[in-house]
Structures are given as structure tokens and as C-alpha cells.
């Protein structure tokens, strides 16, 4: 009920009707998994460096239509963060301007339900750009993969400690790790987690 009210106000704030499609009914059994690489972990000060996203239709991960984008930051990337995500300043020379990136991203996700691992952070990062630009926050439904994992797991080990680290979940679900962690790879792997979790009742 509350979310309906939120959606209502959010819709009212939209300042560009070209993006009304974001508020359409989400397509059935279609999802978008996305992940961002950022300069740090604080949405207030940090910036997005790249976005990776992939669609899921039923049990298929549409890797052939994946979304992969670099974003030009407003300031130089610190040495510290380069070491973590291995995106250098030079890698972003041909990247998109932030608003451009947001536009492309919104067109890719449409009104689909969003799926992610610690999705809240990635949503906040997008909202940081979206709010001042279009006046709204991401209106899409959201599904937290580690949440589904936790719920399925807790059934069998009530009161137990559940390891929710990304690689631990991958390992527990016996999924193959695809190379290094970057936005697209993580989105792909998260998509696999989601599809598998969708199909199994117990872990």
C-alpha cells in the first residue's frame, strides 16, 4: 500500500513525459540484473564509473543483449579506487556523460523488475543522478538476490549464521565464476544466482 503511494508521488515528480514508460506494468517473467562500479561506497560523494546489465526472460539470461557502459566521472579517479575496480582514467576517455548514461540505462531497463546483489546501493547510485535530472527515483520493482538466498537458506538452518558474501553464495549454489569482478560479469553471475534460486526450493 505504501509503495503505491510512493509510486504515485514519484510519478508526479517526473519532469519529462518521454520517460513515462518507466511506470508501465512490468513485463511478466522478465527481469534486468544490473551492477555498478563506483569510485567508492558512499552515494553522496562517490560516482558511477561503469554500469553492466543483462536481461532475463524466463530461465534465459540474454547475454547477447547485455548492457555495458563506462561513465565519465566529474573528477579524477583516486589511486585507491583504481586498485579495486581496475578502471583507470584512460579507460573512461570514451565513456558517456552521466546524463547520457542514465538515459541509455533507462531505455534498456524499461519498466522491468530490477534484480541485484545489494541492489539498494546500486539503486541509490542511479538515483543520485536520476533525481536531479528527471525529478524521480527508480520506480521499478526490486528484488534482492541475497534476500531470496537468505530466505531459502534460513528454512533449513534456523538461527544459523548465513554467509551472504557474493563468492560464498556462488560457491554454495555451485555456479561457475566468470573471470574477474566487473559490472557486467557481476551482473551475469547475479543473474545466474537469481535464475537458479528461482528454480530450486531448497539449497
Amino acid at each position: 500500500m505504501l509503495s503505491k503511494i510512493f509510486t504515485h508521488f514519484n510519478r508526479k515528480n517526473l519532469n519529462n513525459e518521454d520517460y513515462a514508460f518507466l511506470f508501465d506494468e512490468p513485463p511478466v517473467d522478465e527481469y534486468v540484473v544490473y551492477d555498478t562500479e563506483t569510485t567508492g561506497l558512499n552515494p553522496k560523494v562517490d560516482e558511477i564509473l561503469s554500469i553492466g546489465a543483462v536481461k532475463i526472460k524466463g530461465n534465459k539470461i540474454l547475454a547477447s543483449e547485455k548492457f555495458e557502459l563506462y561513465v565519465q566521472p566529474t573528477k579524477e579517479i583516486s589511486e585507491e579506487s583504481i586498485k579495486i575496480h581496475q578502471i583507470r582514467n584512460i579507460d573512461l576517455q570514451n565513456g558517456s556523460k552521466p546524463n547520457e548514461a542514465i538515459e541509455k540505462f533507462l531505455h534498456f531497463i524499461g519498466s522491468s523488475t530490477l534484480v541485484g546483489y545489494y541492489l539498494e546501493f546500486d539503486v541509490n547510485m542511479i538515483n543520485k543522478y536520476l533525481k536531479p535530472y528527471l525529478g524521480i527515483k527508480l520506480p521499478n520493482k526490486q528484488i534482492e538476490v541475497s534476500g531470496i538466498y537468505h530466505d531459502k537458506k534460513i528454512k533449513f538452518i534456523p538461527d544459523g549464521h548465513i554467509d551472504l558474501r557474493f563468492d560464498s553464495i556462488m560457491k554454495d549454489l555451485e555456479l561457475p565464476i566468470f573471470g574477474k569482478h566487473d559490472a557486467t560479469n557481476d551482473a551475469l553471475m547475479t543473474a545466474m544466482m537469481f535464475v537458479k534460486l528461482k528454480n530450486i526450493s531448497k539449497i
Binding site: 530461465n59 547475454a63 547477447s64 566487473d182 560479469n185 535464475v195 537458479k196
Partner: protein
């Protein structure tokens, strides 16, 4: 970015490593990832998929009429056949939950179009599978290796010059074509000039290098048809000790196949062994060369080579050993006055692992047979030392009975034919398979002719000879269940011997000189004595039985146990069990055929 990782993954899947970088990128970009639960049917005859599946994780089973025939797991791809042919007889079902890449049919097909090597993998594989589906043969063990044709290998352009052409001119023409030999045409016949011939004539014999090339050319040349199996080219290299062979298409020269190029096809050292045998100057060296056979057999077997061809190759090498040993042991003046023959399975070129010796010596009339006694005793002893176990029936040159003058053989053969008793049918059968390996070959031919003439219009004799094929029950029951004793089945009694004996009888009856069972079958097929389709099935059954026996024997060998003819059916997988059943069914059909052909019901 991640494209990289997916490319790396794809590249690790054969045959995708054959793709060029551009094609690989395209492939990666066109693939989706799918998840399927256990028991999902991905492909079936009624519903063919539009995707090529590449397994990231999980297991898929291929079924034919509800029978599991193959399992695919990590990094396997399926099913190219149904994509190429738009139909399939097989069903693919998920055995263990599956994560896989899916490549769309159009994208897969465009890769086939753009990359020949990639295409060859699937097309060759397909050809193999069509062949194997026919007889439900080994799908997995077969490789492109056996079906490679001469034209598949790299062929050098032929340099053909007229016999009157000055040598120096011919040489520069050869160099221009970047080839290593010159073919010389002289009134329609071809000769060959190689480096070694040039060296011999120009450097040693001072032949005029500006003179015509014709007189120094060597002819006739050894050729092979372009669509013949590469394997036969290898046999020819070994047999003739040559380094290159002229490739023809409808009798016209189209190129030269060099030994080096051919060898790159074969990752074993068959040829090297042949050279070792040839170069051996002492019995010790010869022994060393023969010790390596088991490795060759293992490698060829692992590659899925038909047993028939492995056996032929090994026989070829064995023959060389016999020949060389004969040369080393028997003094020159005596050597040409006798003919050394190998008999039984060795004579038929069907012996592989050194089982037992079956050999004999035919001595020219007028020569004292006792002159050979010491040499032949040494011959047998040396072979035993080489690892050829002595024959249980003492059918060896060290035995006087198998070492005598032509005249004495004739007397025995006459007796075998006129008043056979006891072992005589067997002796005739063994001797009929004789093949000469050293000395004067004519001596054997003469005796064989005598045998052929002796059985003409002797239907009762032929029936008695042939009925040995029915001696043992085929180990298969009414409901095509295998009849095994403690899980063991004797495939020699059960199938190999009946086929060999039946085919031998028909060859004897029809004057067929060749000794190899497969070659005899082909000859009988050509003469329309056995219907073509049935003969093909019989050949496949024969190959299957030999193959299963070889597999079992190699296993014995690994455990250093003595090999026999029994197969432990616990060691067989479902496909192999089916193959075995099918083979025995065919053997039963063949027995019926023999009963009818030789009117075996008339003799008891």
C-alpha cells in the same frame, strides 16, 4: 571487460579455439545463457531446437529410443547434427541441472560458413556419427583420423617434365613449384626423380647435368587415388619404404603427398619403427624395434582406429621383422631356396598383440631339408625371445612337419583333401591362410593353386570344411539376451571364429587368393556371392568383436595377465553391450546363410 572472460571460456571448448578473433567475438556476442532443470527435454525428434548448446555446468544425456547412448558434460556442445540437418532421431534430456550457453542456429551456421576448419570438425564428426548410427558403432572413440582422405592432407604441386628436358631446367622448374621431386613423362609412362636419384647419378656416376632427365628417372611410380584413406598411404609408405607418393585422380596426377605432411596427421611413430626394423643390423636391434608395437596399438586404439587397419599396420611391421630375421639367420645361398610363410591369423593380417606363432617353411625340391634345421630352430627361438609365444599346436618352423620340401607338402595336401581325418581340416584351414614373407614366393603360390584345384566340384568336402563354423553356439538367447558364464563371454568361439571360418570356406570354394578376412568379404561382395548390405553388416560385426577383444586384451596387458578370448561383460557400457548383441545376431544370420550355402544339413 567480461567479453574477455566469455571469450576465454569459449576458446577452451573444442572446436571453438579454431575461430578467428573476429568470429569469436561475434560468437560471444550472439550467445545467451540458459538454465534448465533436471529432466527438461531440450531436443527431440518432434521438436528440434534452434540453438547449439554449450554446457557451462551440468549434464545432458542423448537418448535413442529411450536408451541412453551418450552423456555430455562441462564444455561439451550439442547438437550440431540436428541444426545442420533440421532433423534428428535423438532426444536430449537434462540429467543434472544445466547452465549453458545457447547459440542461435543462424549464428552457428554462419560460423560454419566463414570458418572451414570449424566446419570440418562438425561435418567430419557428423560423417562419423552417421556411419556409427548405422551399426550403432562407437560414437565417442571415433575421430577424424580414420576417415581422413589423401586429399585432406597437404599435397605438393606436381612438377611434370618431358623425358627430353635437360636436368638443370627441370630442377629450376621444380624449385619454382616449391616441390621436392620431379615426375618425368616418357611416352605416357611416368617416372620419378628425387634428391637421392640425382645424387646417385650426377655426383657418383658423373651423369651430365645438362643431359636429358629421362634416363635417370625411376619407374614405375607408386601412386594412390586422391579419395583413398590417408591410412592406406601410410601403409604404402611403410610397405614400400618410400618418402613420397604420387596422388592421382582418375589416373591423372594431381599432386605429391610427402611423408612429412602425412606424419603430421599421425601422432605416432609407426614409420619410425619401420625404419628401425629396416636399419637393424643385429638381432638385438631388431628386438628393440619390435618392443614398441604395443604402444602403437594403444595409441591407434585410443584414437578409435578400426581394428582392421591397426591389424594390417601391425602385420605389415611383423612381416618386416620376419623378413629381416630370416635374412639375418639364413645364409644367402639357402635363403632363396625356400619360402617362409606365416599362417593363421598372422597370414590373414589379423594378429595384433603378439599371441602365438603360426609359421612354416616350404623348401625347394632337390634341396636337403635338414640343411635348414639349425637355422629354423634358431628362428623360432629368437621369435620367442622377441615375445611371440610358441604355438600350442607346435605349428612352427622348428617342427619338422612344418619345415619340408614342396613335394612333401603336396603329398600332405593331397591327403588332407582326399582322406581327411582329425586335425587335417584344421591344418588345411591354417595353411590356406598362409602368406609368404621371405624367400621364394612362387613356392607358396604353387601349393595354393593345388589346393584350389583340389576342392573344385567337391561339395561334400567343402561342406565338411565349412561346418566347423557351426561348431560353437552363438552366446545369445531367444530374447537376444547375452549368455555369459560368470559374466564372461568367449568372443572368438562366439563370433570371430565362425566369421573367419565361414568366409575362409567361401574363399576356398571360389578361388580367392587374398587371405585377410575383411578383404575376402569385399571380394565375395564384389562377386555377388554375399549380398552387399548383409556383407557390410557382417564386416561391422567382425570389427566390433575384434575391437571389444582388443580393448579387453589391452586391459589384461596393463595388469600383466595373460590375454585370452574372453570378454568380461561387466567392463562394457550399455552401448557396447548392444553392439555385442547386434554382432551376435548377425553371426547367427551368417550361420544360417552358411547352412544354406554349403547345404550343411546334408553332412553330419
Amino acid at each position: 571487460m567480461s567479453l574477455h572472460d566469455q571469450e576465454a571460456f569459449l576458446k577452451s571448448i573444442h572446436p571453438f579455439e579454431l575461430l578467428k578473433p573476429r568470429e569469436l567475438t561475434k560468437a560471444v556476442n550472439s550467445m545467451d545463457i540458459a538454465y534448465y532443470k533436471k529432466d527438461t527435454v531440450l531436443i527431440s525428434p518432434d521438436s528440434i531446437s534452434d540453438f547449439l548448446y554449450l554446457i557451462i555446468k551440468g549434464e545432458v544425456g542423448e537418448y535413442h529410443n529411450d536408451e541412453l547412448i551418450k552423456v555430455y558434460n562441462n564444455s561439451n556442445t550439442f547438437d550440431a547434427d540436428s541444426l545442420i540437418y533440421d532433423k534428428t532421431e535423438y532426444t536430449f534430456k537434462v540429467l543434472e541441472e544445466l547452465i549453458c550457453f545457447e547459440m542461435k542456429k543462424e549464428d552457428f551456421k554462419s560460423l560454419l560458413e566463414s570458418n572451414t576448419e570449424f566446419k570440418n570438425f562438425y561435418i567430419k564428426d557428423l560423417a562419423n556419427r552417421i556411419q556409427s548410427a548405422k551399426q550403432k558403432e562407437y560414437t565417442t572413440q571415433m575421430s577424424g583420423f580414420m576417415i581422413a582422405r589423401v586429399s585432406d592432407s597437404y599435397l605438393h604441386d606436381p612438377c611434370i617434365v618431358d623425358a627430353k628436358r635437360p636436368i638443370m631446367e627441370a630442377l629450376s622448374e621444380m624449385e619454382e613449384l616449391k616441390t621436392n621431386c620431379i615426375l618425368v613423362e616418357d611416352n605416357g609412362t611416368l617416372g620419378i626423380v628425387t634428391d637421392s636419384i640425382l645424387r646417385k647419378h650426377i655426383l657418383y656416376n658423373n651423369y651430365d647435368k645438362y643431359g636429358p632427365i629421362g634416363p635417370i628417372a625411376l619407374s614405375p611410380i607408386i601412386t594412390i587415388e586422391h579419395n583413398d584413406f590417408l591410412f592406406n598411404a601410410l601403409l604404402s609408405f611403410t610397405k614400400n619404404s618410400i618418402k613420397r607418393i604420387v596422388v592421382t585422380k582418375d589416373d591423372k596426377v594431381i599432386g605429391i603427398l610427402e611423408q612429412l605432411d602425412l606424419l603430421s596427421y599421425f601422432a605416432n611413430h609407426t614409420y619410425l619403427v619401420a625404419v628401425q626394423i629396416k636399419k637393424a643390423t643385429s638381432i638385438e636391434e631388431l628386438k628393440l624395434a619390435s618392443a614398441d608395437f604395443i604402444n602403437i596399438i594403444k595409441k591407434l586404439h585410443a584414437k578409435g582406429t578400426k581394428v582392421e587397419y591397426i591389424a594390417k599396420l601391425i602385420s605389415e611391421l611383423n612381416e618386416k621383422i620376419y623378413e629381416k630375421l630370416y635374412e639375418m639367420i639364413v645364409p644367402q645361398e639357402l635363403a632363396s631356396k625356400a619360402c617362409l610363410v606365416v599362417m593363421g591369423s598372422e597370414g590373414r593380417k589379423e594378429q595384433m598383440l603378439k599371441t602365438d606363432q603360426d609359421n612354416a617353411l616350404i623348401i625347394e625340391d632337390g634341396v636337403d631339408a635338414t640343411e635348414f634345421t639349425l637355422y629354423m630352430e634358431k628362428f623360432t627361438k629368437t621369435l620367442i625371445d622377441f615375445g611371440f609365444p610358441p604355438c600350442d599346436g607346435n605349428i612352427m618352423v622348428s617342427n619338422e612337419y612344418w619345415r619340408k620340401n614342396s613335394e612333401s607338402y603336396k603329398g600332405e595336401i593331397a591327403r588332407w583333401l582326399e582322406a581327411p581325418s582329425g586335425d587335417d581340416y584344421m591344418h588345411l584351414a591354417i595353411f590356406f591362410d598362409a602368406m609368404s614373407v621371405a624367400g621364394n614366393h612362387e613356392l607358396l603360390l604353387e601349393l595354393k593353386d593345388m589346393i584350389f584345384n583340389g576342392v573344385k566340384d567337391r561339395s561334400v568336402f567343402m561342406a565338411n570344411f565349412a561346418k566347423a563354423a557351426l561348431l560353437f553356439e552363438t552366446p545369445i538367447g531367444m530374447f537376444t539376451n547375452l549368455i555369459a558364464k560368470n559374466n564372461h563371454i568367449d568372443v572368438k568361439k562366439g563370433g570371430i571364429f565362425p566369421i573367419v571360418q565361414g568366409i575362409r570356406s567361401m574363399s576356398l570354394e571360389n578361388g580367392i587368393h587374398i587371405t585377410n578376412t575383411n578383404s575376402r568379404m569385399r571380394e565375395l561382395k564384389k562377386l555377388k556371392l554375399i549380398e552387399e548390405g548383409f556383407c557390410d553388416a557382417l564386416e561391422e560385426a567382425f570389427d566390433t568383436l575384434l575391437n571389444l577383444r582388443l580393448q579387453e586384451r589391452l586391459r589384461y596387458f596393463e595388469h600383466e595377465e595373460d590375454p585370452d578370448n574372453r570378454i568380461d561383460i561387466k567392463n562394457l557400457n550399455q552401448l557396447e553391450l548392444d553392439l555385442l548383441k547386434d554382432s551376435f545376431k548377425i553371426v547367427n544370420k551368417f550361420k544360417d546363410f552358411l547352412k544354406h550355402h554349403f547345404k550343411l544339413n546334408m553332412v553330419q
